[in-house]
């Protein structure tokens, strides 16, 4: 049962795409692009050492976007039969004729598409046997269960492997294809307080394009256990203002909010608190933020974006100044700016803007040193809820973490909220940690914010 067995029939996607583009032209389309993707996934979940769930699948999908002058529509299907693709072409063309002209619509200029398609180290042909994958998940969970007597239960551990390829072609003659693979492990143990019996769950994970670079199951399991146990005995806080330190994961979340606000679609729609901020100061000098689509092995890396433009490194915030928005062709045209190669796209969808590897450049202060610099404050390790208003920047989310007293973590806290405004929060970044690690497309070191409102009892 190696995942090889599920390898999809060898279809020539390039021919398929070229054929569809010419059929769209026959139907009267002035421009078109085609995206084809296929892939296979294998996922193992174990719980309390026993296999809980095995999932195996392969999928494929083809999407067509057509333009009739300034009118455009998209459609997609998982059925690659001739009849289905005939219907796809005629349906898409009919849809396009039914919508309204949009002056900015269209493919990117033909001379802007990617000329080179560098190998960014996104694919690893390692194929794991079913038993091997079960064993990896088991080892992760076992490490968590063995780490501390207070780890009493588990929501399980999961090991996933997947691989796939993406092909994009357009009527200007662009044709690009790349393969990628992903290996990931996560462990979710539950800790119980011996005295009160109250439970806390936490989890930890690792994800990589290459199997060999993945953290060991043991280290992931131990970290998951450490995170669950340290939450036991959490208290509430009284309502107050205090400095707030965001750990790596939570800081990455804040950066994600910033990405959203700096993306072209939010801006031209009037739905971003960063409207009119280009070239202005957003944060103190110690803040520099990049979006780099070509980081070797990066989880957000790809040789070309969802429109076939080359990916690149964009300086979004340079020493505190907002130097670039993040754009695809359409949102760029709406704002009178050039695309930054951030078109992100599901098969059969119009492009939107998405991050490649979006990160805050690390500073020199170790995270422990940041905590030591706080006399009284909050260290946030979990945020829940959707209380972020992109239009105004108003921010209010449920939080859990630790109360800091005299530079030490004094006790865990929960059932509190932290609130402020994103503009003010970025302006109030006082320290950027040295601990940048990529565990996703958006990454940040630990950061300290001068002060926020904490609501509790």
């Amino acid at each position: 049962m190696a995942s090889q067995e599920l390898k999809s029939a060898d279809k020539n996607f390039a021919e398929l795409a070229t054929d569809l583009l010419s059929r769209a032209r026959t139907h009267g389309a002035t421009e078109a692009d085609v995206m084809v993707a296929d892939g296979e996934t294998f996922s193992v979940q174990v719980r309390l050492s026993a296999v809980d769930r095995l999932t195996k699948a392969r999928e494929k999908r083809l999407g067509l976007r057509v333009f009739f002058g300034k009118r455009s529509a998209s459609a997609s299907t998982s059925d690659f039969s001739k009849e289905s693709l005939d219907r796809l072409v005629s349906d898409t063309c009919a849809l396009a004729k039914a919508v309204v002209e949009d002056d900015q619509s269209g493919l990117p200029d033909g001379n802007l598409t990617a000329k080179d398609q560098p190998d960014l180290d996104l694919f690893d042909s390692t194929s794991l046997e079913t038993e091997a994958q079960i064993d990896l998940a088991r080892r992760g969970e076992a490490a968590a269960l063995a780490a501390d007597p207070r780890i009493t239960n588990s929501e399980g551990a999961e090991f996933d492997s997947s691989s796939g390829r993406v092909l994009l072609g357009n009527s200007h003659g662009f044709l690009g294809e790349y393969r990628s693979s992903t290996f990931s492990i996560s462990v979710s143990p539950i800790a119980t307080a011996p005295d009160s019996g109250s439970m806390q769950q936490d989890s930890w994970y690792a994800v990589r394009h290459r199997f060999a670079r993945l953290d060991s199951p043991e280290s992931v399991g131990q970290e998951a256990a450490r995170r669950a146990v340290r939450r036991l005995g959490a208290r509430k806080l009284s309502t107050r203002r205090a400095p707030v330190v965001f750990d790596q994961e939570m800081a990455a979340g804040l950066l994600g909010n910033l990405f959203h606000a700096a993306s072209g679609y939010a801006l031209y729609k009037g739905a971003s608190f960063l409207i009119g901020h280009l070239g202005k100061r957003l944060a103190p000098e110690l803040v520099t933020i990049y979006d780099d689509g070509r980081l070797p092995g990066g989880l957000g890396s790809r040789p070309f974006d969802g429109e076939g433009l080359p990916t690149r490194k964009t300086t979004v915030v340079e020493r505190g100044m907002l130097t670039s928005y993040l754009l695809d062709t359409y949102s760029g045209r709406k704002l009178g700016l050039a695309s930054t190669g951030n078109a992100s796209r599901g098969v059969g969808e119009s492009p939107s803007v998405g991050p490649t590897n979006f990160y805050l450049v690390p500073g020199t202060t170790a995270p422990a040193e940041i905590l030591r610099s706080v006399r009284e404050g909050l260290y946030v390790t979990e945020l829940i809820g959707f209380g972020v208003n992109m239009v105004t920047g108003d921010y209010s989310r449920g939080a859990a973490g630790f109360w800091i007293e005299n530079g030490e973590l004094a006790y865990p806290v929960e059932e509190i909220t932290i609130a402020g405004n994103l503009k003010q929060m970025f302006a109030d970044i006082e320290v950027v940690g040295s601990d940048l690690e990529f565990r996703g497309r958006i990454a940040s070191p630990t950061i300290k914010i001068r002060e926020m409102m904490i609501a509790g009892t």
């Binding site: 619509s105 239960n153 309502t239 729609k269 209380g387 609501a455």
Partner: protein, 478 residues
Amino acid sequence: MSTQETAELAQFGLGELEIRQALGRVKVRDVDYADLYFESRVSESVSMEEGIVKRATKSVSQGVGVRATAGEKTGFAYSDELTRKDLEIAADTARYIANSPQGAGTLPVTHRQRPNRDLYPAETSVADIATHERVDLLNLIDAEARRYDPRIKNVMASFNTEYKIVVVATSEGLLVGDVQPLSRLQVTCIAEEHGNRQIGTFGGGGRVGFAFYSERDRYRHYAREAARQAILNLSAVDAPAGIMTVVLAGGWPGILLHEAIGHGLEADFNRRKTSAFSNRIGTRVASELCTIVDDGTLPFRRGSLNMDDEGTPTGRAVLIERGILRGYITDRLNAKLLGIPLTGNGRRESFQSVVLPRMTNTFMLAGESDPQDIIRSVKRGLYAVSFGGGQVDITNGKFVFSASEAYLIEDGAITKPVKGATLIGNGPEILTRVSMVGHDLKLDEGIGTCGKEGQSVPVGVGLPTIRVDEITVGGTKS
């Protein structure tokens, strides 16, 4: 044969024999149960912004999910090809978990019991609406929202439809199908005044036809409500921070029940004893005034289903009765392992996802208080009318949800609108503080989507006006 199911199977180019063979292959000696879930889905979307309908998309997908369970173990595979060979590969993957040799026989289909009701008759929900009609509707919405107030600077609206045909075949001999339409109309307005920019959102939908949106002037109502909320927020003041008495309006604020109670009562978490509600059946988790149900049988509702995704007819499960926890919501696997009743809550996002116990329409039954009296009873507090989204930590019970329209209550009267505040609390405690329940039960407009383990499914919520004596409000103002 001329049964409805055979007609639905034909949609997938399959006959009953192939189903029986595939089930025979997967339902081997050590497999307790196996099923096949065939799904065909056509989704269409048109969207408008800046006064023009710019985008139209259509997506077609079909496939099969094959599942086998053995004890607590589940083997699952899916494929978007429906050839016999693909079914066999999927069946072999699914039965791997049972460590049994390949099965050779066929399994009989013994009953094809259709749910004896039709909550969303297909003839009233034709997916095949001409695109220009959808375009016209969005244009009317744009005009209506802009007419509401000149400070409305942008209107974004989208209309999404989905038409799903499913067939479930099980190793216990069941073969049933359902046709499940779903649509949603969503309006977002941006208002601007002196550089102050605010957003308002409103929408509705259900398992309804296109005519639903014109009946009772619904689309105008959606447009005006989105505009009203955006304009209102222009004058909103900072939300307070700290513990307050909160009055929740009827309808969508029922998301409180979904987050604080509903997820914690899903049987999978309770079988694994990882929920804050584990082992609490029969104990008090809410005040006497609270009776909460999950009901998948309400006609045309977004969260409703004739049958769940395992072919079990949906029903009405009483979760909390006069404050006492009565039961969990279940799918087949968890009901069997826990030895508790099957409630028809086994749901999946698509053929690509596994079945999980999920909510349908979750709401609190009406009480006896007059909603006006409830507001008048509060000296200083918050009146929350509409919410964005919510989230819960199942294990420690902590939940949050964020208000998108809320007001201060001062001396029993609603006064100033406040900016989005997050409410946070503890699931097993929060409803013990409900001191008044209104007689005005209202269900939401039909926009809810619930996420769990990465799977999204449509759900509904409902609530009468209620008074909660203490909730932590996460504002910015001390």
